[in-house]
Symmetry: C2
Subunit: 373 residues, 2 copies
Amino acid sequence: MNKFLNNFDKIKFFFNGKECSIFIGFDLFKIKNFFEKFKEKDQVVIITNQRLYDLYYQEIRKSILTITNRVDKIIVSDGEKNKSLKTVIYVLNFLKKRRYSKNIVLVALGGGLIGDLTGFISSIYLRGTYFVQIPTSLLAQIDSSIGGKNAINYKDAKNMVGSFYHPNLILINLSFLNTVSDRQFQSGMTEAIKYGIAMDYSFFCWLENNYKKILFREKETIKYLVYYCCKIKSEIISQDPEENQNKRVLLNLGHTFAHAIESKLNFSDVLYHGETVSIGIVTSLKVANLINKFSKKNTNRIISLLKKFSLPLFLSKEMSYEDYLFFIQYDKKRIRRNQIDLVLPVEIGKSSLYRNVDRNIVIRAINSKIKNF
Amino acid sequence: MNKFLNNFDKIKFFFNGKECSIFIGFDLFKIKNFFEKFKEKDQVVIITNQRLYDLYYQEIRKSILTITNRVDKIIVSDGEKNKSLKTVIYVLNFLKKRRYSKNIVLVALGGGLIGDLTGFISSIYLRGTYFVQIPTSLLAQIDSSIGGKNAINYKDAKNMVGSFYHPNLILINLSFLNTVSDRQFQSGMTEAIKYGIAMDYSFFCWLENNYKKILFREKETIKYLVYYCCKIKSEIISQDPEENQNKRVLLNLGHTFAHAIESKLNFSDVLYHGETVSIGIVTSLKVANLINKFSKKNTNRIISLLKKFSLPLFLSKEMSYEDYLFFIQYDKKRIRRNQIDLVLPVEIGKSSLYRNVDRNIVIRAINSKIKNF
Ligand SMILES: NC(=O)c1ccc[n+]([C@@H]2O[C@H](COP(=O)([O-])OP(=O)(O)OC[C@H]3O[C@@H](n4cnc5c(N)ncnc54)[C@H](O)[C@@H]3O)[C@@H](O)[C@H]2O)c1
Ligand SMILES: NC(=O)c1ccc[n+]([C@@H]2O[C@H](COP(=O)([O-])OP(=O)(O)OC[C@H]3O[C@@H](n4cnc5c(N)ncnc54)[C@H](O)[C@@H]3O)[C@@H](O)[C@H]2O)c1
Ligand SMILES: [Zn+2]
Ligand SMILES: [Zn+2]
């Protein structure tokens, strides 16, 4: 094993007083055993889907087995449609049947879907268990595995039911990205671009300058990308864990529109989460232009970066503004029932939460075609 | 209004960094308006049952209306059977249909059932809302409204699904106790006796000395009783919010057996929660006698106090030890799947958590008749 592979990074932080460490590296599970803590635990239960089970379960299990032989798994169905109450009930029944105690570890092995689902179950089974994230998609490694937000979709409402429940440990094995499809990888990139636009100009520039290496998945570049995103996110969420201080909320840039699109598409994975966020960001740029004169130059710069990652800028099939407004009514940012609250960029690297945005402006932005940019 | 009625007590404390105040008084809603905070909120939703709606809803609504006119209610069915996922779904659908934002207040107006249910929903709707407890039963006023534990029963498993989510505000109107039946009132007394046995000898003596005044519901005595219990509970839970330090766990005295009985009775309210806890305490006394030689004298003293409040000491219809052991497998205290962990008294006013208690001793205690005491 060469020196680079032997190397891993650690980020330690606190979420509402609860300590969490992130370990990041290639071939993480070959470098060191990160499961010592499991010795005290009665049972380890890994929640994953069939694809990731086939790819990575044995590798992780082997590593855990050196600590404890009580390792079990639950396979749930893939696809955003299954981030649902039905799946939660399936897992609860499984845990109940085996009489697993509160002293278990629930391990999420998967992308954002598995992470959100497992986090939620971990927060409610016997009032909360030890929780570990092993994110496998780019999106999960740079964003969703950190910060303790979890949720399931409820009927047509995206992420309506969930909680804040931070993992105790996050293990990011960069090698897992090898099997992520290009389209999924690019979808994950939206969240990195989001960090840049919402709060970090120099990172945005770094993305512009390194997009080729990223797309090529050059190892050092990927490591820096993931590490830096984890650093941004962990800093924000430790300052503002439950989104009360107008800081963490900025990470919702683009998401109000994205969630509306996901709802409208019945969580069907026609578009991936990151792709809907890309479209949501573009719509937000338009709103920002109308509200705070967000410049055309910056708009073009952002659009150009999204394009580098082959991210969609608009829906191929139209979605009416009525549909948008209907689903925006489920948005969690609203402090008044009938208003629209949006995170909008002010410049690249700076954004702000705008409360009670004029409905007509939102409609204009939704209806404006990409050519108008 | 005389001076005594005009008077209210306040207890302020922190739960995991979250501030909470308890206000206690007779005719609380006539003394002062405690709802100022609701001004910032988009909507107030009171969760209650039909009986409590008929009795107290208008009084509370009137008080809130001076602050905001956005007051809504949800009526759920009474009875422990309805502390269920079905009711959670009913409430979630209601909130979703009205598009209520995260910036709502959920108010629990009721006993421990409504409190547990509302707390759980408040913790998961849009990842958490502002939460107020207005406990109406004695049990809820002295115990369940404080401490942030919530849960629903899941199939035959008592309190299997829930979270720790502390109310922002607890309003204890002692006058509400006027309509509580004697049997319910006495059932609630078990939790007070529990505090005495588990951790407060002088309070136990106070209960012995004042049982007549309590049963007579003498006003000053009731006020002291509720205030003192709130004080004990708030101190314990602010020191050990999530039951990790062997302190809060002591408040589970008697509950391992109680929950098994409730499960076996299908949450049917043949016995009330406090009544099953009374039986559970008596069984624990027997186990303690076998394990740490808990004295016969103290046992008799405790039994005698339980009897003063007409609390049951054993099940009228036998329950087999197999049934007990079956349901004990759902107990949240277990750190190993197949062991029995029990809180047992050491002397009156002192208790301890015993891990991995000998199964045969537990069986002997279950099988021993009350006459053996
Ligand atoms: N909690 C948060 O803070 C947060 C943040 C952003 C997004 N999310 C949520 O995350 C979800 C999106 O996450 P996602 O993009 O990871 O989607 P996902 O979890 O559905 O994964 C996408 C696909 O990639 C597959 N996959 C994952 N890792 C793989 C690997 N290493 N090799 C091969 N295939 C792999 C999955 O099986 C799936 O088919 C959405 O539900 C979104 O709402 C949550
Ligand atoms: N969260 C906790 O820390 C905690 C602690 C102890 C018990 N509990 C839970 O609390 C529940 C038991 O609470 P409970 O004993 O209050 O039962 P409950 O809520 O079922 O109330 C008992 C009965 O009294 C009625 N009632 C309540 N207040 C009344 C009033 N002022 N006037 C007339 N009728 C009134 C109710 O409608 C109900 O029929 C159980 O589910 C138990 O598991 C929770
Ligand atoms: Zn996202
Ligand atoms: Zn109780």
